[in-house]
């Protein structure tokens, strides 16, 4: 008989709730009549994400002492719980955005099922405590996302996006797996703390195999976080995927990839900090440069936001590279408004796409601020937030990131970050300029035949609710810094800095 480890089911509750929601949604795809699948699927996914959110908070409250569960494969701590809450929150908003999308009924229940499954994988990944669970969680949510990207077969570029993501994502996973194998080969251990223990016990700090494995791990996670130079897939996939999927990916995938990067590096490789801090700082600089400069010349809003997300990966990597509790706090704080702004901004793009029945370019935004006041103002605030201007959490997030870099002794990194912010302003303000300062009469659609019905499209209320919630988080995180930072401090304290 194989001995089974004790399972702390409560620690796995967010994943389990989401898996259950996914299964129920999938059952609906078979058992329910076609016309009710959309409502049912969306409801299941929403309940799943809401349940995961609540459980993540309960776990946060009840896990002041970090410890491994399920034979140490998974770690139950506040760091993971806070990340799960961010993922679940962005998932919930993404459901609202998806519900408003003009999607065919054919695979609608499967869509929500996959969304919940991806969320479950992400919630699992952020608690991963050894190289096996890391890879398992990563593939779990990636496979769900590959399908989600390609699910809308009628959408131009959707299949291409799915295929591109599959191939490049698969390559990234392979690199990660190879890196894990090298680390295992060097240390003989899988669990993160034991790797750290083996490195110090066998004084492997300069071991070539270990360092190569570490580099490949960072590269593999860099693919998921879409940090330059591993970012090539990002603009194409973000552009081609259905916009609600992009909204979810840009927020949640980045959260889990960056959070996990911090966890792995701090827990498993503290002795290599002299290497990975520098490597991450270099990746951060590359991401800031490439993301911001490429975004300058984009005319399609989704591509612009994709490059902007690359540059934000750069900002957050600065926080990780500081290798300090302040850096951890900065990352966790930054992720909250960032996730809200990402979902919100893509939601506004989705709304505009529906109105125009065409991909949205900057010119297509002309006059939108006046026609749709809530969406326009929200988009404006999201852009301010991305640009790091008050009154948004984006400003405080950047402040913390720069503070972490400064405390680490890297004033030059602060200056790089500020320069990148300056460049970013140009294209973020271009979005506002397009929305408010150009009359809609300038709008040259040339697509009069497109089915553009007047008035507010059906189910628009949920999209607007999602956008309003994202707006609330973006602005609220500016005023309520102290409570959020306290939460982030306790979360970061569960890592062994």
């Amino acid at each position: 008989m194989i001995p089974t480890p004790h399972v702390d089911w409560f620690a796995l509750a967010p994943e389990l709730v989401l898996l259950g929601a996914s299964a129920l949604a999938l059952l609906g795809a078979v058992l329910l009549p076609r016309e009710s699948r959309r409502e049912y699927g969306a409801l299941m996914a929403a309940l799943g994400f809401a349940g995961a959110f609540v459980y993540a908070i309960v776990i946060y409250v009840h896990s002041p002492d970090a410890h491994g569960v399920v034979a140490d494969a998974v770690r139950r701590d506040r760091f993971g719980a806070m990340s799960q809450a961010i993922v679940a929150g962005s998932g919930l908003l993404a459901v609202g955005v998806s519900y408003a999308e003009r999607m065919r009924d054919e695979h609608i229940a499967e869509y929500y099922s996959l969304l919940a499954a991806a969320g479950a994988g992400m919630c699992f990944l952020v608690t991963a405590n050894n190289l096996m669970t890391l890879f398992l969680g990563l593939e779990w949510f990636s496979i769900a996302l590959y399908i989600l990207c390609a699910i809308d077969r009628e959408l131009e570029g959707s299949l291409e996006a799915g295929l591109k993501y599959l191939i490049i994502g698969g390559f990234g996973s392979a690199v990660l797996l190879f890196g894990s194998a090298l680390v295992y080969g060097a240390t003989g251990e899988l669990a993160f703390e034991r790797i750290a223990g083996a490195i110090s016990a066998q004084s492997l700090t300069d071991d070539a195999m270990l360092v190569a494995g570490l580099a490949m791990l960072i590269a593999g996670l860099g693919f998921k976080a879409s940090a330059a130079p591993f970012h090539m897939w990002t603009p194409d996939v973000y552009e081609g995927a259905p916009t609600p999927v992009t909204a979810f990916m840009s927020a949640a995938t980045k959260v889990v990839a960056l959070v996990l990067t911090l966890r792995v590096l701090v827990t498993a490789f503290p002795q290599e900090a002299h290497l990975w801090t520098v490597a991450l700082a270099a990746i951060a600089c590359a991401s800031l440069a490439i993301g911001n400069l490429a975004a300058l010349v984009q005319s399609r809003v989704k591509r612009l936001l994709a490059y902007s997300s690359i540059s934000h990966a750069g900002f957050m990597l600065i926080a990780i590279s500081a290798d300090s509790p302040l850096g951890g706090r900065a990352l966790l704080y930054y992720l909250v408004p960032y996730a809200a702004m990402s979902v919100g901004a893509f939601a506004v793009v989705a709304a505009r796409e529906r109105e125009l029945a065409a991909p949205v370019t900057l010119d297509d935004l002309a006059g939108m601020g006046w026609e749709r006041p809530l969406l326009g103002i929200s988009m404006g605030i999201f852009m301010f937030g991305f640009a790091g201007l008050p009154p948004t959490g984006g400003f405080v997030g950047k402040l913390y990131v720069f503070s972490a870099a400064y405390r680490h002794g890297w004033t030059w990194l602060v200056i790089v970050g500020v320069a990148a912010t300056a460049v970013g302003l140009y294209y973020y303000l271009a979005v506002i300029r397009a929305m408010y300062m150009r009359p809609s009469a300038e709008l040259q659609l040339g697509r009069a035949a497109a089915p553009v019905a007047g008035g507010s499209p059906p189910r628009d209320g949920w999209l607007q609710t999602s956008v309003a919630l994202a707006l609330g988080v973006t602005v609220g995180s500016f005023f309520a810094v102290q409570p959020l930072i306290d939460v982030a401090r306790h979360a970061a304290a569960s890592l062994p800095f």
């Binding site: 302040l326 008050p390 400064y406 408010y436 810094v481």
Partner: protein, 485 residues
């Protein structure tokens, strides 16, 4: 009594939300904005009464922790000289909102909300006693301006806003880097705490932001376009109030917190101010249109005020504060008058204007009075301010005083040229007999501004004797001056 300062910041912000969130018709939106702006003036008068000028130091202050791990707090309060600048702000903003209410603006809820937000942000800049809070209000001041110019501006507004944003944001972000490094290296972001820094780089970071916003030569590239393309009342606010925030920053942060770098860079800044003064005056003399003259004269006047500030002595600083208020009122009145003239003639070009005085006594009187005060005729408040500045800067070097005196002669030239080109000479092709004299509503906006100027002409000591006396900021500044002599 700290609630009074907070109320002056929050009242307009609350007013903005009120205007935005409820679908008022455009008249009600404008009326609400005007009422809030007038209530703001009332709050300021209340704080003027409660302010103890004999005591000096930070008053009406309030401090609440914002986030403690970096020691950032919501800390607001007023010094004597900042109280006067807040007064300038609320008066000019009330006039600007009243003018816009009368002139009518499309999308009025958005417009008046932004104007109110701008009011709160500028008051916040003058009241903030925390570096990060200062930066937040500083940015909050730029964003409404960006939209106000970009949406309601003239034909060339897009180009003007891009220039405006690039210049000001480049400056602000340098300041952000300086704020972060300074706050973290001091361990606190509190401005009222007793610390000073000797870092040249941080000093230059702050100076960059302030020099762009003021503007100082050679950072004035955004100025002519922004002033020409804005709606007149926004131009009035931009040159009357927002530029003063930069000078305030020079006094409150650059000089008070960086005594050694101030000493090292004083000559450079004074020389730049001198160049701006003469260059701005010459450009104003050559400008072909009303707004051009006012815009470049603004550049010149801010050069003069910078003289007073970087003289870093009692006379210079007192004169600078008085002149800030003077120039704020003068340029606001002039821009609003220019707006009125442009409404009547559909152009601001001198070649097409002239003869406005005939049959329009109110317009002629107000433009003449403002112009005469602007050119610092003896007995006017501007004379008092400029005299104090020149006397102050004379102690630093007679050359600066000489340049300043020459510039005052140039100011007389460009102001008289403006007056004669608009009011006198033969009627221009765009001036028709149908163009009416100022309407009662316009008088209601302009007469209080000019009345403030006349009152200050009678009693300039109201400001000069109540800005720095026994004041901690003044002591900081003065102690620094004693050391540098």
């Amino acid at each position: 009594m700290g609630w009074l300062t907070t109320a002056m910041i929050l009242l307009p912000v609350g007013g903005a939300l009120l205007v935005w969130l409820i679908p008022w018709d455009s008249f009600t939106a404008g009326a609400i904005a005007l009422l809030v702006a007038l209530a703001e003036v009332g709050l300021w008068i209340e704080s003027l009464i409660r302010f103890d000028f004999g005591r000096g130091g930070l008053q009406l202050d309030q401090k609440t922790s914002w986030f403690s791990d970096l020691d950032v707090s919501y800390h607001v309060g007023l010094y004597g000289f900042s109280l006067w600048l807040v007064g300038l702000t609320v008066v000019v903003m009330a006039a600007a909102i009243a003018y816009a209410f009368w002139a009518g603006r499309s999308g009025s809820r958005a417009y008046f909300g932004l104007m109110l937000l701008l009011t709160g942000a500028v008051v916040g800049v003058f009241a903030a006693q925390d570096l990060l809070l200062f930066y937040v209000f500083w940015e909050a001041m730029l964003l409404p301006l960006y939209v106000l110019i970009g949406v309601w501006g003239g034909a060339g507004r897009l180009g003007a806003t891009i220039k405006f944003v690039i210049y000001t944001m480049a400056g602000s972000l340098l300041m952000l880097a300086a704020v972060i490094v300074l706050g973290l290296s001091q361990g606190t972001f509190d401005l009222a705490a007793a610390w000073q820094s000797s870092s040249d780089w941080l000093f230059l970071g702050f100076v960059a932001a302030f020099a762009v916003k003021a503007p100082l030569f050679p950072f004035h590239g955004w100025l002519p376009d922004a002033y020409r393309e804005s709606p007149p009342e926004v131009a009035a606010v931009l040159s009357g109030v927002v530029s003063k925030a930069a000078i305030y920053g020079f006094i409150r942060i650059a000089i008070a917190k960086f005594p050694e770098p101030t000493r090292d860079f004083r000559t450079v800044i004074l020389v730049l101010a001198a160049i701006g003064l003469v260059y701005g005056s010459l450009l104003a003399f050559r400008a072909p249109d009303l707004r051009g003259v006012i815009a470049y004269s603004s550049l010149a006047q801010l050069g003069l005020i910078t003289f007073g500030v970087f003289a870093v002595n009692d006379l210079g600083l007192d004169g600078a504060v008085l002149q800030m208020v003077n120039h704020g009122l003068i340029s606001a009145a002039l821009f609003l008058l220019a707006g009125g003239i442009e409404r009547r003639a559909a152009t601001g070009e001198f070649a097409r204007l002239g003869g406005f005085a005939r049959g329009r006594p109110m317009l002629a009187t107000l433009l003449m009075t403002t112009g005469v005060i602007a050119l610092a005729v003896p007995g006017s408040s501007a004379f008092a301010g400029e005299f104090a500045i020149l006397a102050g800067v004379f102690r630093v070097g007679w050359g600066y005083a000489l340049v300043g005196a020459i510039a005052i002669v140039l100011a007389a030239m460009y102001t008289l040229r403006l007056i004669s080109a608009v009011l006198h000479e033969r009627p221009g092709p765009s001036v028709t007999p149908e163009a009416l004299d100022l309407r009662p509503a316009e008088l209601g906006v302009l007469v209080p501004l000019v009345a403030c100027l006349l009152a200050l002409s009678v009693w300039p000591a109201a400001i000069t004797e109540r800005s720095f006396t026994n004041d901690r900021a003044g002591n900081d500044v003065r102690a620094q001056f004693e050391a540098s002599r």
